[in-house]
Amino acid sequence: MATTTAAISLTSDLLSDALSVSTTTTCMKAGTTADGLDQMDTGYIEIPTGDVYDILSLQTSDTQIDKANKVYICNESTDETYYVSVTVKAEVIGRLYAGDWMFIPWGAEHADSDIGLESSTGTNKITYTLFHEGRTLLAS
């Protein structure tokens, strides 16, 4: 079985007592305890201003739909005023500022549940990785 783990350490001193949370999850295929995600796509891309660009997109009846995909996205830009708006199915969910990362399950409930990024200022440098259990390939 392929094994992919995602660990987080979250600390904050905003509260009167320090908050410290650490956990690790093993990324499994949808609904199973016996088989881990076994495929991945990873990349580094520059996102210019001017439009929403899909970095992860689906095909009709894609085998990724309704699965336990996991997505990591990081804005590697260094200018703190830079950010990208993250969209799922064209709905803005939040902003990734320079240096920020996110890790989410991507259920990909519909064929148009693409993940898109729109740069606000300048060209943002993005790294991303998708862990999944197979996707529909396009014949050439």
Binding site: T3, S12, V88, G94, D100
Partner: protein, 147 residues
């Protein structure tokens, strides 16, 4: 007053993939100033397939309302039934929107899974949780945000 999150990814799927580790310090929008507000760490038990607002952006229970479209991050983990049993075959769908409308699904948190993502803080962009079964499931969550 710093809030930091470090992710470490490891995988043997792809040959020569060396894994990944990244630390993020949560800052205010477009600045190097640390984020100063939080909901505090919370725990909520759900036992029905009904969609519920896990975090309501306009809710006074936040004490300080989030500023729209600034810098805010949400962490959520599915910790199983809260009694030590973690079921990888059931899940909670996390969405962004309003339970009175049609929230946009983000993805499924199976037992033990966690997420950390940015949110806008806009009033109609609540964090919504919808369990896949009527079995008890506990979510632990926290939001860091600006006002």
């Amino acid at each position: 007053m710093a809030t930091k999150a470090t992710i470490t990814l490891s995988s043997d799927i792809m040959p020569n993939y060396g894994g990944y580790s990244k630390e993020m310090t949560m800052t205010k929008a477009g600045a190097l100033t640390d984020i100063e507000e939080t909901t505090g760490f919370s725990r909520r038990k759900l036992a029905a397939t009904t969609a519920v607002d896990l975090i309501t952006m306009a809710d006074a229970s936040l004490l300080l309302e989030t500023a729209d479209s600034t810098s805010a991050k949400v962490y959520v983990q599915n910790v199983g039934d809260g009694k030590g049993t973690i079921d990888k075959s059931t899940y909670v769908t996390i969405s962004i929107g309003d339970t009175g409308g049609t929230p946009q699904p983000i993805g499924r948190l199976y037992g033990g899974d966690w997420l950390l993502m940015p949110v806008t803080g806009a009033d109609n962009k609540d964090v919504v949780a919808t369990p896949s079964t009527n079995d008890a499931v506990v979510l632990e969550y926290v939001m860091f945000f600006e006002v």
